[in-house]
Structures are given as C-alpha cells and as structure tokens.
Symmetry: C2
Subunit: 699 residues, 2 copies
C-alpha cells in the first residue's frame, strides 16, 4: 500500500533549508501554501527554524510519528539517512537528491546501499532524482513536490516518468482549469514503480481518469498486467515519447535506459485498452472532455456551427479520427426548418448562421440530441458581436446538463473583452468542455469516440489448441542447446511447427543425392531442395536453395551442386520439400522483448515486407480477435481478398496459424527469434514452407 | 490597385445603425475604437447622428470625397446603393450584406445586377456576404470590419476566405502578441479575389509574411501565377481545409462551390513554394517564428534543455519534420565540459540540468551558435523555482539578438506567478519566439526549416523537346472530334504519343486476321493483339486483349475469337503490338482540372496503383526536377531501383517521358483525361504499351 506516500499524516524534510529557492526550502513553502493538513518537520542540524517552523537536528529528535520523509541532501549521505528513517519508523521516503544510478558506478553503489537499508526496515522508496507527489484531497492538501503549479482538486490523476513533462501536464490541466487528484513523478524509480502507482490510482475512488507519460518500461509485463485491470475500471490516457530513433536516444540519455525504438509500449497500450496520444497537450485537452462528458455510443457526430470555415476544419479533423458525419433524417430537417433562420444550412453540419441566438442554437442541439443517427455533438460558437452570446452559452449548458450525449464546444472569442469573459464563465460553470479552435475541440471529441471504440472492443482470451505437444518441442530445443547451437536446423524447426499443428509443406531431411531422390519420389514432384546446416544461416543468399525441381535428375544434380559449393561448411544435410507454387507469400515472425514476452509480426512476404515494411505487430499471446485485426491491419490487406480476379486467400487458416504460433511462443519462452517465411497461402489452406528459430543459449 | 480598399481616406457606411450590436453600428464603433485617421460618414435616412457622428440621409449628401463604402442593407436594395456609390465617385465597396449567390437564383440575379452597376462606374467590390478589411498602419488604423479583435501593428498580413477562420487566425496571432499588418476576408468574392489580395500583400512593403486560409480556388491558375511571384519575395503560409470528402462537402455547403476533394490546391502550394499547414493554430505559431527569426540554412538542429522528457518529445517532433540531431564535435563537447555542471549531458540534446542558470544556458547557446554542424536551435526552458530564470531569459535574448541562427524556445512555466511573468516579459521584449510546450515549439521550428528547404528548391523551367509535332496531334484530335468521339482509338492515341517522341512498343492497326498476321511478322514475335474500337472502352475487361502470341496461328485465332465475341460492337479494328515481357509496369496519367490545366500522375502500375493507391501528382507543366521528385515520391520508390537482385529501371527515360507528356498536355488543353497504362520500364528504356485519351467534345 502506498498510503504513507500519497496520504502522509506527517512529513519530515531531511535537508530542510533556510535558503530561499533551494529545494529543501521550496518543498516546505509548497506544503504551507497548498495548506497541508498534517505535520511538517524540517530536519536541519544548524537552524532552529525553517520557514517559520521549528526545525529538528535529526529525525530522532522529532517528537511525533513521521510516515513520509523527503531526503534532500548530497547523495553520499543518503544511505545513512535511510537507516535513520528506519529507526524512526518512517514508512515511505521521497529521495529528491540526484547522483545515483544515473551518474555511473559510484552512484549505483550508493543506490544499492540505501535500497538495502530500506528493505531492512520495509520502507518504500520513491525516486531518487525525482520531484515527488501531490494529493489535492482538500482533507489533506499534500504538496510533497518542488514544482510551481497548485492544482485545484478534481478527478484526474497524473503519473509521469519525467518531472519536466509531469509539470507540463499539471500546468496544462491547470491552465484549462481542470481539477486534479493525485500527481506523481518518480525519477529513477528504484523501488515504487509506475505500474504500482497506476494500480494505486486504479484503486483510488477519487480518480476518474489517469494520465500517464512514459518513455518505456523496465518491466513492461508488470505494466501490462496492472494497467489491464485499471483500464477495465477507468480511462487511462497515455503518451509514450521516444518514438523516433533520435527521440529514443534522447530518452536513454536522461533515463540511462537502453536506446532503441520501443514499439512494445504502444502495442501494450493497444492490447489493454490504454488511449494513446502523441502530444501531451492533446492528451490534456482530451482529459478535459473525459472529466465531464459521457462516452459516446458510436462514431456519428452532429456538427452545429455559426460560422462556415471552422466547421470545415473540424470536419476534416473529425474524419481523421474516423468519425462519420451522417445526413440528418427528413424529420430532423423538417424540425430545423421550423426553428432556424431561412439562410441556415440544415444538413449536417447545421449552420445556424452568425446571427443565431440562444433559441436557434437550442433548437439545433435538441434535434441532434433527439436524433438516433447522432452519437455525439460538436459545436462551433464564435462570439459574433451582434448576438446575445450569454444566451447561446446558457442553452449549450442546459443541454449539456441533460448528459444525453457527449458534446464539445469550440469557443472562438476575444477574452480581452469583458462581455465574452462572462460568456466563457457560463460555459465553464456549466461543465462544457470548450477549446479555442476547431482542431483542438475536434481532437478532444475524436479521442472520446476513440475511447468508446476501445471500451467496446473485446479481444477475448487466447485459444489453446488441443493436441499441441509442448514436450516434444522442448525436447528438440533442449537437444539443440546441449550442442551449443542457437540456430535450429530445418528439421528441428519443422518438428517444432508440427508439434503445434502448424501446417508445413511435406518434407524430409536427407543426406546425399540418393536419399534426396527417394524422398522426392515419396513426397511427389515438384520439390524444393534446401541445404540444412546450422552453420549456414542465410541459405538462400548462399545458393543453398533450389526450387521447382521436376524430376530425379534435377534433384540429384541440385544436391551435388550444393555439396560442391558448400561442402567446406562440413557434411551437409538437405531438406527435400514439396514445391507449392502460385500462392500468396506471407510472413509471420516473433521476437522476444526484454521482460515482456514475445512480439508477433504478420505481413505479406517478399517485397511487401522488405521494401514497404508493411507489417503489423501484437504482443503475445495473440487472441483470435487480434489475429483477425493483424490481417486487416496491413496496408495491403486488400491483396488478401484477391485482386485482378485472383481468388483471395484462406484468411481463417492464417488467423489460426497466428494463434498456433502464439501458443507455441507461450510454451517456449526461450525462443529469441522465429520466422515463418514464407508461408504460402492459398484459397484453401496456408503452409509454412520455410522457418527459422533462434533460441537463447545457456540456462 | 486596391488602395481605395486597404487605405481608405474616408469611409461611408450605407446602413449605419443606431442600434447597438448591429453590424451597421459595430463597424463604426470598431473604426472609432481602432483610431481610424480618415473620415467616417454614417448614411442613415432616419437618424441625425450615429455613434456620435453626424449621419447623412444619402451618399449624395456627404460633403467630402468617399473612397470606400460599406453596404449593410437588405440585399434587394444593394444594386441601387451601388448605383449611388458610382454617382458619388466611391472607388471601392465592401458589401457586408448577405443574400446573394449563396442564396439561390434571386440572390444570384441581384448579384449580377449590382456587379453590372459597379462595372459601369469602375467600382471594385469586396464581398458580398463578407467581413471586410483591416489595415493596422498607425498612420491609418482602418478597421473596416465587424470582428472583435484589435490587432497591434506588425508585419504579418492575413487573407481568409472564411470570416470565421479569419477571425480565429487574427485572434490567435493577437493571443501570441504577434503584430499584424493587413487583414481581409472577402466572403462570396464576386469581384476582388484572393489572388488579387495576395498580389497586393506581395507589393505591400509593410508585409513581411502572408497567412492564407482557403477551401480551394475558383480560378486556381490565377492564384498559381500571382502567388508564385509573391512567394519569390516573402513567405506565404497557407492552410487549405476541406481535404477530406466530408470536409469538402461542408465547404461546398457554405461557399456554394462544387463539392469533391480538391487536391489541386495543395499541389499548387507545393509547386510555387507556399508553406502548407493542416492546422491554423500551428500556422499562427509558425508565423511567430517567421516574424522574428532568420531562415535556417539547413536542417540540423541543436537542442538545449534543462529537463529530460520535454527534450524527448521535442526530438520526436523535430524528426517528424525531417530535422537531424547531429552529434557535436569533440571540440564542442570539450567546451561544454568546461562550462556545464558535472551532471550535465553534453551530447545533442545538451541537458544543462534543472539547476542551470544564465551562464550554463549561455555557454551551451554559444557552442550551438559557433558549431558548423548546427543550423538552428531549440531550447527547453522550464522555470525551475530554484534558479534565476530572469538571468536565463536574458542570455537567450542576448544570443537571439545576434541573429546568427534561428532559435525557438519552449517556455514551460506558471504565469499565475508574478516572477515568471517577468521572465516571460524578458523573452517577449527580446523577440524570442516562445511556446508553452515542446510540440508547439518544435513544430514552429520545423516549419521554419521546411520553409528554408522550399526556398532553396528550384524546380527550373519546363523543357520543350525538339521535334514535337503539335500540329499532327491537333489534327488527330480534330478528326476525332468531327466524328463526335470523345475517346480516341489506339491508333490515334499512339499517333499523338509518337508526335511527342513518347516511345511506344512497335505497333500497327489492322483489320482482320490476315492483316494481323502480316503485321506481327513485320513487328516480330511475340506480339499482343488488342481490339481497337472507340465503342469498347475497357477492352481488357471485355476480353479484347491477347498477350504473348508467339506465332501466326496464335495471332490469327486470337483475332477471330475477338471478332466472334465482340463483333456486335460493329466492324472491329485491331492493334498488333510488340509484346514486351519482364519490365516494371508503370503508369502516367493526366486529368484536366477546372480553370487550372492538367494534373499529371505517376505511379507503379497494377496492384500498386489499384490497391495501394501509391501515386504522386503534380500540376502541369512538370519540370525535370518535379518529374524526378515524382519518381522519388511514391512509397514504393525502392522498387524502381530493383529489389532481390533485379536490375533497376531506366529512371532517366521515365523522367523524360513525364516531361514529354507534360509538353503534350500543354499543347493540347482539350485533353480531359489521358493514361499511359501500362508503361513497361526496363534497365534501358521505357515504352508505353497501352494508352487512352478522352477529349472534350464540342468547341
């Protein structure tokens, strides 16, 4: 439980300072300014008083109990300070000090040392090299942080790896006058982790929606498991930065984590229903809509506008979010005709025109709310100087209060003019989410609709096929391991595939031309011959593959030719396999991700994967719904249905294949990389015709 | 000359009103409030005084000269009012009234009537159904508009089709405290057009940059010709809305223009060097950078930050804009090591860390300005409460004043706190473009870099190939026209191609099997036989194409088979053509756009164009540079270079082909649609192997 951290009854500050603007001073001032309801105990050996509060020479001198301590002293003294926290009975510590794992070996040693001390006493550590937390609950008002924004109470909770971005989000929420609940930025995160914080927010009844900023996770599987439960209860809005190679490099330089573009985090978001963003401002503006509006039942938007161009801009953006702008029914249009000015446009968008007042806006809103063709409403409201803008705002508020369908408002005005400030106050008081331009308003509504879509999506459970022979597959891998090989032979690969019911074009492993000819006869011509040696990794590039061999002579000469050219790799095995021409080439791949499990990839083979990089990834295990999404998710999905009169492929077979691969990966975590490339897919069935598996060496 | 419109010495208001908040009252108040230096003449038959000014019963009663009149009366009285303007010697009229071409037939009739009156007197008309203009020149202060934002003088001029978006842009500029020069929103645009206004802004010395909002152009060629000259002198930032089908529909409903997604406008922007935007807020924020910063010489950005995460976000966005984040030289890093705190990160991004003050920021800035690896600088400046933020701001300003390289600043702060307001004032006073979050700042810098790229791009002049035989092509088309045909026969199409030196696989047009066999023998086997009848438009789908015919028997039976199946279309001609297997299929297309000329399309043929829609368009005439960009611009461009060991195609031949097509289109404006599909491209040469031309009927 993180209650000691987020709901401290008394806070001690080890390193409290009389020096204005120092962190050990700013945090005390922040606690005072925010009206912290608990005790504040400055610890300072030299001063009697800090910020008007009695200071104590040491933690031990503090008379009362302390559940939370800030540590704001040079890094080399931190282990001893934690020891003293333990002796005092402190339950949680925020280490604001820097100079630990982010600063090389000596720092890492200090970190290990204070962690050991904390474990000894069961203290939870937050940080080091971090900002801290805020709890806006008016019964507590805990501002254990050195930032400079004082959020009003509300229902949005924020967690951010980066303090800079955390502060930015907090400020942006505050600029939009959105109330906040809990805030946490945990820096190096040596103990209390983001998954734990997310879990805590999930349990917190005052938190209605969670905002997360991250640059990736050390323990992505933990995040996946925890956040999955939270998303089932409340919206989690998240941004993952470092999505470009250069951005990932910048992230690694400030977090000390490994560089490299991390697609897994975005895939986890997708898998568990986190609403993803690429811009923290957009995320905050969406949160504004989440904090007051119901989730739309569908994606059909009604647009009401009193000006032309902004409706065009909004429409473009709404369509970018896959919203539909349906025609209104004849009955709706008839109702509008009775209530709108003659020059109004009665289609969707409804242009009530610039001279529209409260009655016209209200009538248009009522039509949208009543229409069963409309799921949500977008309003452009420019404060024309010749209308009663307050009346318009009051009608929008009245309809908003009905909470029938979500609405957002683009409120275009000049707030330097007092009369429009008043109009704005009406909207704000009435909990209408309003924005200063059409794009921002449309993106917020688009996010709400996208969330509705996510909420309705059910990926189901992974299917486990009967008859999968995990023991056989493990034995094959164990044998390869014992010979110290990382790359399996074709025979081993196909053996594993067969253990999981993955259809493979008929094959035999042989040595020499005579055996190859016999195998070909058994399999039936035409056949392919491939060299099968763990010493030859890219056999195709090495001339180790001969396709479409139609008779014994061709098989025999192909084998002999390979023996001549590749014999210096040692005695060669060969794989003889049925040649399957004319299908569509597909590829399924898998790779192990650190502390997560496997990512599964699907795409069309050949140039589509090589040149167009047209592939889709999912985090294993992959359910039937997800496998279906993978087939639909490539840009070239239309090719699966057949083009130019060709027959489409057997999609169900491929969907099953992906699920079988997923089951295989779940049983065999030691697989580092696996490819089924190509898979030949036909109108009835799909067969792996080549495969590659690389395993971890050692235990 | 539009001086009477933009620099009026005296303004009359026909329809001046004593009623507060009416348009005829608001405009007068705006003129007064903005401090208009000329005469204001309210015209009102019933009142002696309007807004404290003497009112006149009619224009004729005004004692002085009037160069500009507002018309704010019901539509049916406008023609007479224009007549009276003519008699009074008014030079320009802003018709704010609505109820004309946007309102059906009667409105259109009224519009024609007042236009005729205006022509009679040489009056220039602005509107109708429009806002008006603003000229912020302090010597004039003309606010001939009913909007509610009072821009401070500056160097950015705005023109917007939509008054709503115009007002939005004006407000957004004002919110960022960016000075504005001229403003115009011309509604129905019955006379004074956006190209004319753009031209005027181009000539206006006080205008340093132009902002344009449009939903398309009635006369795109005019815009292209005019704006091309303006972009040569000053940046033109533009947004075209209605880019989705639904957005285009919304645009057409408020402008009365034709629906349909208009890609031509964006292509014109690209051709003439207009900087395109998809969000008016982003455009305005970019304008802030343009108004104070030099244009970057290249795309290499130096990032300075005092906080981690926002640098990651900024890096992602800068990379989206194709900026590079180069490593700094060893010498630069050595200089940084001397001046930065030990915990600073000295790579690019330079993380000066949260405790950095003025000296650390200054030293980092100096390194970036001195480095010949850096073209522009991005700064994250979070106002850490424990630093002297004013000192940091002063150093940024000092470096900005040197004007060595462009810089932008992401200034993350809480403006509710007075001390940070002061810091902001230092940045503002120092002309530093600053933004409230990393994405906004990065996008503004990205736009500046993108503009530098545009400015350095020279597409050159269209090349006219010697030996093109326009007369022969025109004769072919004339003959087809005389027979009333819109679709040309294959023989006609190839004849036109040959007139422009477009390589065509050898061909002959024949009747019957015997002639076909003779032609095939002359051409050389293998051949293709295609039915050639203007009555059969999609011959391939109709079974009218037989490929890879290797001997006389095959040719003969193919012709007879087609005669049997397609004979009911009348006596058939046949095209016998050399069969060219094994090349890469390409497509070049062209279509005539209303009032613009032709768009030229290039892509890979077959599924690439049909399924992936992977094509690039340009506005004709297409220069060599543009044709080269077309080849590089498709997503599958790598296929042109060859994949999996194939030879690449002869790109120069294709580039020449596109230019020849462009020349052909320039000579033959009566072509409505043309396809060269497929073109077979080889390692040495490219040949059209099928073509289709549709021409306008009639004169």
């Amino acid at each position: 439980m993180l209650d000691a951290l987020f709901k401290p009854k008394a806070v001690a500050l080890v390193g409290a300072s009389t020096k204005e603007l120092s962190i050990g001073n700013v945090i005390i001032r922040n606690l005072q300014r925010y009206g912290y309801k608990g005790e504040i105990y400055p610890v300072n050996a030299k001063a009697d008083e800090v910020c008007g509060l009695k200071a104590y020479p040491s933690l031990a001198d503090i008379p009362g109990e302390v559940d939370l301590a800030h540590i704001i002293i040079p890094s080399q003294f931190v282990p001893q300070a934690i020891e003293e926290c333990g002796q005092k009975g402190v339950k949680a510590v925020i280490i604001n000090s820097a100079g630990f794992s982010e600063m090389g070996e000596e720092g890492a040693r200090l970190q290990a040392e204070f962690l050991a001390n904390a474990h000894k006493y069961g203290i939870r550590l937050f940080g080091p090299n971090c900002q801290g937390i805020i709890n806006s609950d008016p019964a507590l008002n805990a501002y254990c942080n050195f930032t400079f924004t004082f959020p009003k109470p509300g229902s949005i909770s924020v967690v951010a790896l980066s303090g800079g971005v955390g502060a930015l989000i907090m400020q942006a929420l505050d600029d939009l006058d959105i109330g906040q609940r809990l805030y946490a930025s945990n820096g190096n995160a040596c103990d209390v982790s983001i998954p734990e914080i997310i879990h805590y927010y999930g349990e917190d009844e005052g938190t209605k929606a969670v905002i997360l900023y991250t640059e990736g996770f050390d323990q992505p599987r933990d995040f996946l498991e925890v956040a999955r439960k939270v998303t089932a209860k409340k919206p989690v809005l998240a941004m993952k930065a470092g999505r470009t190679e250069e951005g990932a490099k910048a992230a690694s330089s400030h977090t000390g984590s490994l560089a490299g573009v991390d697609i897994a985090t975005e895939l986890i978001f997708e898998k568990i229903g986190v609403l993803p963003f690429r811009d923290e401002g957009e995320m905050v503006r969406a949160a504004m809509a989440f904090s007051s509006q119901p989730v739309p039942a569908g994606n059909r938007v009604g647009i009401i506008t009193n000006t032309g161009g902004p409706a065009v801009i909004a429409t473009d953006v709404l369509v970018d979010f896959n919203l539909e702008v349906p025609k209104l029914s004849a009955a709706s249009i008839a109702r509008l005709r009775e209530t709108q000015f003659p020059e109004a446009a009665l289609e969707n968008p409804i242009d009530v025109v610039a001279t529209a007042g409260g009655p016209q806006f209200r009538a248009a809103l009522d039509v949208m709310m009543d229409s069963d063709q409309i799921d949500c409403v977008y309003i452009n409201f420019v404060t024309a100087p010749f209308t009663d803008t307050d009346a318009v705002a009051r009608e929008i508020v009245a309809v908003n209060r009905q909470k029938r369908k979500p609405l957002v408002c683009n409120f275009m005005t000049n707030l330097k003019l007092e009369r429009f400030q008043k109009t704005m106050a009406i909207l704000k008081e009435g909990d209408v989410p309003f924005y200063a331009n059409p794009g921002d308003a449309a993106r917020a509504l688009g996010s709400l609709v996208q969330y509705g879509r996510i909420q309705r999506r059910d990926i189901g459970q992974p299917h486990l096929f009967d008859g999968a022979d995990a023991a056989r597959a493990r034995t094959i891998i164990e044998q390869a391991r014992q010979t110290g090989r990382q790359v399996l032979t074709a025979g081993e690969v196909y053996g594993i595939f067969e253990a999981y019911g993955i259809a493979v074009a008929p094959w035999q492993v042989v040595r020499g031309a005579d055996q190859a000819v016999a195998a070909a006869a058994a399999i039936g011509y035409p056949v392919v011959v491939k060299v099968d040696s763990s010493a030859i990794d890219h056999k195709s590039d090495m001339g180790g593959v001969a396709v479409n061999l139609k008779d014994a002579a061709a098989v025999s000469s192909a084998v002999e030719e390979m023996q001549r050219r590749l014999g210096h790799f040692g005695e060669l095995g060969f794989l003889v396999q049925k040649f399957l021409p004319g299908g569509r080439e597909l590829i399924i791949g898998a790779s192990a991700e650190r502390n997560l499990g496997h990512l599964v990839m699907f795409g069309l083979g050949g140039i589509y994967v090589e040149t167009l990089k047209d592939v889709v990834f999912k985090v294993a295990p992959v359910t039937r719904v997800e496998a279906t999404e993978m087939l639909a998710g490539i840009k070239t999905a239309a090719l699966l249905d057949g083009v130019r009169g060709e027959a489409g492929i057997d999609k169900q077979a491929v969907i099953e294949l992906i699920q079988r691969v997923s089951q295989l990966l779940g049983d065999l975590p030691m697989i580092e990389e696996m490819d089924l490339n190509p898979i030949m897919a036909f109108a009835d069935g799909a067969f792996a015709v080549d495969g590659r598996i690389r395993i971890q060496t050692g235990g």
